[in-house]
């Protein structure tokens, strides 16, 4: 009983944090603050994944996404000089389209899923590792090459900056 209340409280607070962070990403004029709020959104997503029972994915989200991707974005923004953030004038149109999409998806999901409960699942780490190494070897190699490419790009950009 207490665990369920704790879960629900964590969910409510984390969802408020996630929505506020997402709004601030779009709304803030400063790009650095936008990137920092993206990091906060990533952390709140990791909390959701842990609540659902995906502890390994949650760790991945914090280490790879917040720790590497968001940090990479922040450092890249620092490399550029602060630019003026311009907004288009057709705000009402885009907000109404987004609201329409939200309403349609919510209606479909409330009709099909309803109040179906989610129980925290248990994903065994050894099974995930075994599947990655045996069944998904080629995607794993492709992902490794993609990350190495990103690393090389970062080094080349930094080198050009030094030469300049």
């Amino acid at each position: 009983m207490y665990i369920e209340i704790l879960e629900l409280t964590t969910f409510i607070f984390t969802s408020i944090l996630a929505i506020l962070s997402a709004i601030m990403i779009v709304k803030t004029k400063s790009l650095i603050y936008s990137a920092l709020f993206l990091g906060m959104l990533g952390i709140s997503m990791a909390i959701f994944f842990a609540l659902m029972g995906y502890q390994l994915v949650s760790l991945f989200q914090i280490i790879v996404y917040v720790g590497a991707t968001v940090t990479f974005i922040i450092f890249s923004i620092v490399m550029l000089r602060e630019t003026y953030v311009m907004e288009l004038s057709s705000k009402i149109l885009s907000i109404s389209i987004a609201t329409l999409i939200l309403l349609i998806f919510t209606a479909i999901v409330s009709y099909t899923v309803g109040m179906y409960p989610t129980t925290p699942i248990d994903v065994p780490y050894d099974k995930v590792a075994e599947l990655l190494m045996k069944n998904y070897t080629l995607p794993l190699i492709i992902v490794i090459f993609a990350l190495i490419t990103t690393l090389i790009e970062g080094i080349i950009i930094a080198k050009k900056e030094v030469e300049k």
Binding site: I25, V26, S34, F48, S76, A98, T119, A146, L147, I157
Partner: protein
């Protein structure tokens, strides 16, 4: 037990905010950050739906997509830095000068 609808509704809210950010901004870095909001919402949708069908497969896809998102951001940001060096701005309407 948290209802599945709550997770799905939250992911739709984040998707809508991402769409608004993508359509109202002219700055390409802000557009990239809005795309990242949409990526996070889709990841939440994937994992919340995979709790009722295939948790193992869902977690594998999530791990791959998080890693590929890192690589994708790296590529995009390096293109942005090159664009900034050529044009001196990150406005999408000035991207025509970047051609050729």
């Amino acid at each position: 037990m948290i209802p599945l609808f709550f997770y799905l509704f939250l992911s739709f809210i984040l998707l809508s905010i991402g769409i608004i950010g993508l359509t109202i901004n002219r700055n390409i870095i802000k557009m990239l950050l809005s795309l990242e909001v949409m990526f996070n919402s889709s990841l939440l949708l994937l994992l919340s739906l995979s709790t009722i069908s295939n948790p193992l497969g869902g977690s594998l896809i999530a791990i791959f997509s998080i890693t590929l998102a890192g690589a994708e951001v790296g590529v995009l940001v390096s293109i942005l830095i090159m664009m900034f060096r050529v044009i001196g701005d990150v406005d999408v309407f000035k991207i025509k000068k970047f051609r050729g």
